[in-house]
């Protein structure tokens, strides 16, 4: 279904290049030689739904026999992918592996200084350590000093991705926006995210993979304010969805157009200091 988009300047704040092992329909890694084709498919989807820009992360499940050397390749690839269409891929957020310990701090410096990435992302159920492991606190401390933004998946029922862990991180770095991804994947997870975000006002929630419908959007706006919700779709490589449920939810939500404009792009641009369209 193709949606009439009115005047919203939409930025999808949650897309991935790559896939997920063991999940049907998510085929796995994308080599650099395939970036152009992947981008073409991605932009076709975005154009179909009136999404002007996107924030891109790697998939968090990739082959890494060389350890951190492979993580560097992934982040290098992400930066190269963004360079193919910087006007459309407005933001690129790298990946860090908690199992690499404090060796990851050097990669944070490199992501910032050399690659121009704007943050780091994690999906702890795919990465093998709890979200509130001491390594994570060390990473966020370094990122805070560099002005990078953490994006952390909190998928319902996923190992190590409980909201109470995220809250520990957010409360340790109250001046830093902490993006809480995938929390709308279950009513209980969503309620936990809202409750945590009411206490830790630096937690920002996204719509990715939401099962909460338009009413979830309304509830978030009522309890947290429109400034603390981001539109995101979880679009992975090669996917050509028949509809974007998250976009439908925001457009159908019983909130004003100003709120929708923030959710659909204003908030993420503000957080990352991007200019809006003229």
């Amino acid at each position: 279904m193709i949606m009439p988009q009115r005047d919203f300047d939409i930025l999808d704040s949650h897309q991935h290049v790559g896939g997920v092992f063991g999940v049907p329909g998510m085929s796995g890694e994308v080599s650099e030689s395939q970036f152009a084709d992947d981008l073409r498919v991605r932009l076709e989807v975005m154009d179909r739904y009136g999404v002007r820009q996107a924030l891109l992360m790697p998939g968090h499940s990739y082959m890494k026999p060389r350890g951190i050397a492979d993580t560097r390749v992934i982040n290098d690839g992400l930066a190269a992918y963004q360079r193919l269409a910087p006007g459309r891929i407005a933001l690129a957020i790298g990946v860090l592996e908690p199992r690499h310990g404090l060796d990851g701090l050097g990669e944070i410096d490199r992501m910032h200084g050399e690659l121009g990435l704007r943050g780091a992302s994690w999906h702890h159920r795919q990465q093998g350590l709890p979200m509130d492991h001491p390594v994570m606190f060390a990473c966020l401390e370094r990122m805070a000093a560099l002005g990078l933004v953490p994006m952390i998946h909190c998928f319902s029922g996923a190992d190590f991705e409980e909201i109470w862990r995220l809250r520990r991180l957010a409360e340790a770095f109250p001046e830093m926006p902490v993006l809480c991804l995938d929390s709308m994947t279950h009513p209980v997870q969503f309620e936990a995210a809202l409750a945590a975000a009411e206490r830790a006002t630096n937690i920002i929630i996204d719509t990715t993979s939401s099962v909460m419908g338009p009413d979830g959007v309304r509830a978030c706006v009522e309890r947290l304010g429109a400034e603390r919700l981001l539109f995101g779709t979880n679009l992975y490589s090669w996917q050509q969805p028949q509809h974007l449920g998250e976009l439908e939810d925001v457009l159908a939500a019983q909130v004003g157009d100003d709120a929708k404009a923030l959710i659909l792009g204003g908030n993420v641009r503000r957080i990352f200091g991007l200019q809006t369209a003229a």
Binding site: G22, G128, L129
Partner: protein, 269 residues
């Protein structure tokens, strides 16, 4: 393998106990193995005379070096198995599903070098227990005579029981031992209520004494193996009292004979 004469074999004790469950163990360089193992031996639970343990690798370890770190860890496990004070009747290694072909090569290597099996920890390895990559590795391990142990932590999404069962079904008839599944009331109910593949065995880590009779009835004594599940210092402190408490309920098959049978199948290959 020299058959131990004591009353039990603990199939589930991890080498290198951290203070906390998620401590990231740093694998030492080879020239530091001896000192590291001296410290590890001092912190492992003491066993009664003649009893033995299977040595399992640490679950959470630093892996910035990728397959090199895994090779060094498996070499450490071999060195540990040779230490008489560790009373090891078997030693297990690890491979990472995210290492692709390097993982298969490492299975071949550890089989050649004499490790008895391989341990998978889907939660720590960031994969679902029945992901195709892990299934392929378990099948390959079986062709090399390696016994597969897989962590089945209750309430874990990656290690949930249905995925463990699916893994076992896909890898049949290779025996697989699920570690830690029975330490949770809900999971015990699920095991006793449903059918488990016949090649799927369970260790007793965390088990409640009251659950034993029902599990034995459902699974038969052949598919239960004694394992204490000591993977951090706090749990290791509980091992001694638990062992005494359970011994009468479990009986010799579960306490030692089943482990000897599964490990003996490896020794015969």
């Amino acid at each position: 393998m020299t058959e131990p004469v004591g009353s039990f074999i603990d199939l589930h004790q991890h080498l290198g106990l951290g203070r906390g469950e998620f401590d990231l163990i740093e694998i030492p360089d080879e020239d530091a193995f001896a000192g590291w193992l001296d410290h590890a031996a001092a912190t492992m639970p003491r066993l009664p005379h003649g009893c033995a343990r299977a040595l399992l690798p640490p679950i959470y370890f630093q892996s910035a070096g990728g397959a090199e770190d895994v090779r060094r860890l498996n070499d450490l496990m071999l060195a540990a198995a040779a230490r008489p004070e560790l009373s090891a009747v078997a030693a297990f290694g690890v491979v990472e599903p995210h290492h692709g072909e390097a993982a298969f090569a490492e299975l071949d290597r550890i089989a050649r070098l004499g490790l008895d099996g391989v341990v998978f920890s889907p939660r720590a390895q960031g994969v679902f227990a029945n992901t195709p990559e892990l299934v392929a590795l378990v099948k390959h391990a079986a062709t090399r005579g390696l016994l597969t142990l897989v962590h089945a932590t209750p309430r874990s999404g990656n290690e949930t029981l249905w995925r463990i069962r699916d893994l076992a079904e896909q890898c049949a008839p290779a025996p697989i031992v699920a570690l830690g599944a029975l330490g949770d009331w809900e999971t015990v109910l699920a095991v006793t209520a449903g059918e488990s593949p016949r090649n799927l065995h369970y260790d007793t880590a965390g088990i409640a004494v009251a659950a034993v009779a029902g599990l034995v009835k459902r699974l038969t004594t052949e598919r239960l193996l004694y394992g204490s599940g000591a993977h951090d210092a706090a749990r290791a402190a509980l091992v001694g009292p638990l062992q005494q408490h359970l011994a009468e309920e479990l009986g010799p098959a579960i306490l030692r004979d089943n482990a000897l049978r599964l490990l003996g199948a490896r020794a015969a290959t």
